[in-house]
């Protein structure tokens, strides 16, 4: 079945939040269930970041115990490396998926670890932006989709260095076409790329298949300079950069298959995040 048909079966999740192992235990972090109780319209689902070696923390388990919707955000697979899809990891992935019953799987399509899978590295580098790398990425997405029977939505990763001749959006357009998959567009990560390459926020969308975007991410970032080199730290603060908002406001009305939006603010107190949630909710309202 082609993506255009498969996407029709994906649920409309709406606006949600993300978490990963231990994030909810940090001082001043977002209590996702408290958010759900106080503002259910801002926490319609939880995107759970999963490193199979760590499993699910008590916050994720409490959400799942209430039968609330989830998505599975992988944190431990280099999609373009066939060696990464070992049987034990896939078995663990299926076990987690069976527990949280995600609407789909998604996550940054980049280099999560150096060498073989290890705990504690959490590297996350973007792919080299070449056609070959896109094709290897596509093969990994198909492999994971077939192994788990879940849609796998690759996400454009953050970075301070992007190598290769392709525009990030052209790279993921090729990945989507080769894997016949939907996409997760991280608007904050895209804004970082556009700045580093000297592009305007909306450059490169002409060849990008917005009809394949199923989910978008929105997050704050902090502008930094290192010895004259300007970059944006992807620190998920509540302060979303103007470039990112420009991308979000461009994308949302043009994505007929959009099913979910995550405001990534998991390490911030609720009160600091409400303005961002409200702005996104307004953008998503019919």
């Amino acid at each position: 079945m082609r993506f255009a048909e498969r996407v029709e079966r994906l649920p409309h999740l709406g606006l949600g939040v993300s978490t990963e192992y231990g994030a909810g235990d940090a001082a001043g972090s977002l209590d996702v269930l408290a958010l759900r109780d106080a503002h259910p319209e801002y926490a319609r689902f939880l995107e759970i970041g999963v490193e199979t070696a760590k499993g699910l923390d008590r916050h994720a388990m409490a959400w799942v115990a209430r039968g609330l919707p989830t998505t599975y955000h992988y944190l431990d697979v280099n999609l373009d490396e066939p060696e990464d899809f070992d049987d034990e990891w896939l078995e663990d992935v299926r076990a987690v998926a069976a527990t949280i019953k995600p609407a789909w799987m998604c996550g940054d399509a980049g280099l999560w670890h150096l060498g073989a899978r290890e705990r504690g590295h959490m590297l996350l580098l973007p792919p080299v932006l070449t056609p070959d790398a896109a094709d290897d990425m596509a093969a990994g997405i198909v492999r994971l989709r077939e192994a788990t029977s879940h849609e796998v939505l690759p996400e454009n990763p953050p970075g301070q260095v992007y190598l290769g001749p392709l525009h990030l959006l052209d790279f993921f357009a090729r990945v989507a076409e080769r894997a016949d998959t939907g996409l997760l567009l991280d608007c904050a990560h895209l804004a970082m790329f556009q700045r580093l390459r000297g592009h305007a926020p909306l450059d490169g969308f002409d060849g990008f298949p917005l009809e394949r975007v199923v989910e978008i991410h929105v997050a704050g970032g902090s502008e930094r300079t290192t010895d004259g080199f300007a970059w944006v730290e992807d620190d998920h603060t509540p302060g979303v950069l103007a470039d990112t908002w420009q991308i979000v406001e461009h994308v949302i009305p043009r994505t007929p298959t959009l099913r979910a939006v995550v405001y990534e603010c998991e390490r911030n107190p609720l009160g600091a995040c409400l303005d961002g949630f409200a702005r996104l909710a307004a953008l998503l309202s019919p």
């Binding site: 049987d87 073989a116 580098l125 070449t130 290192t226 080199f229």
Partner: protein
């Protein structure tokens, strides 16, 4: 597949400031031996050198994660541990998709201090056992081998006592002279690790089974040690039941 090679160069640049400095001065020299195309060399050389320094704490974070598994040897190694990211071990492991945890052990074993080297060898064996597959492939019929979740290491005598003392924050004893042979084993249920001293006979038997070996050869080892056929069978059945031989 050279995009993989290029990405691995990026990893090395993010962790080793000396390597990044060499790239800035002489890219051809710094990237010698890496299978990159001319375009790829141009792309990486064109990156502003400050871009490799945007997260100066990154190497220390990775080192801290590695130190979790090498707490004893790394604590004694001091500056030698800190030099890991400039070592050939690190660069080769990244470029060849090796395990950082395992080559960190190899780096610590290079330490001039015999106590560090011995502890690193023991903690390296523990790291190997920790990473053993949960369901290793079986041997051919009538063959046995040491399970990947068990490892036999021969170390200076007193190494296991030194590790125990450092963990308990007691005054560390010295090591040697002479050797001790240890079995490092992962519990199939709890996944916890055990270290036990081996008698010479059992050490010889398990050493013989490091690679798959016909069962009759292991029987022969036991009989050479003076036990009869019935006793040999009981020993081997016991090791199979314990998951040490598979």
């Amino acid at each position: 597949m050279s995009h993989h090679a290029l990405n691995r160069v990026v990893v090395r640049l993010l962790h080793d400031a000396d390597f990044a400095a060499r790239l800035a001065v002489d890219p051809d020299d710094a990237l010698g031996g890496v299978g990159l195309s001319a375009d790829e060399r141009t792309w990486v050389a064109a990156v502003p050198s400050a871009a490799w320094r945007t997260d100066p704490d990154r190497p220390q974070r990775v080192l801290a994660a590695l130190g979790d598994e090498y707490s004893a040897s790394a604590s004694l190694a001091g500056a030698h541990a800190d030099r890991f990211f400039t070592s050939a071990h690190f660069h080769r492991a990244v470029q060849e998709r090796g395990s950082l945890a395992l080559v960190f052990g190899a780096h610590l074993r290079d330490d001039a201090d015999a106590c560090v080297a011995a502890l690193a060898a023991l903690e390296h064996a523990m790291a190997c056992v920790r990473r053993a597959p949960r369901r290793p492939p079986r041997c051919a019929p009538d063959h046995l081998r040491l399970a990947p979740s068990a490892r036999v290491v021969r170390l200076p005598s007193g190494t296991s006592a030194l590790l125990a003392a450092l963990r308990a924050k007691r005054r560390p004893p010295g090591i040697g002279p002479g050797d001790e042979t240890l079995l490092v084993e992962r519990d199939a249920t709890t996944q916890g690790l055990r270290i036990e001293a081996l008698e010479p006979g059992l050490a010889a038997l398990l050493h013989r089974a490091t690679e798959p070996v016909p069962r009759k050869d292991l029987d022969a080892v036991i009989r050479e040690l003076g036990d009869d056929e019935t006793e040999a069978d009981a020993v081997i059945q016991g090791l199979i039941a314990d998951g040490i031989l598979i």
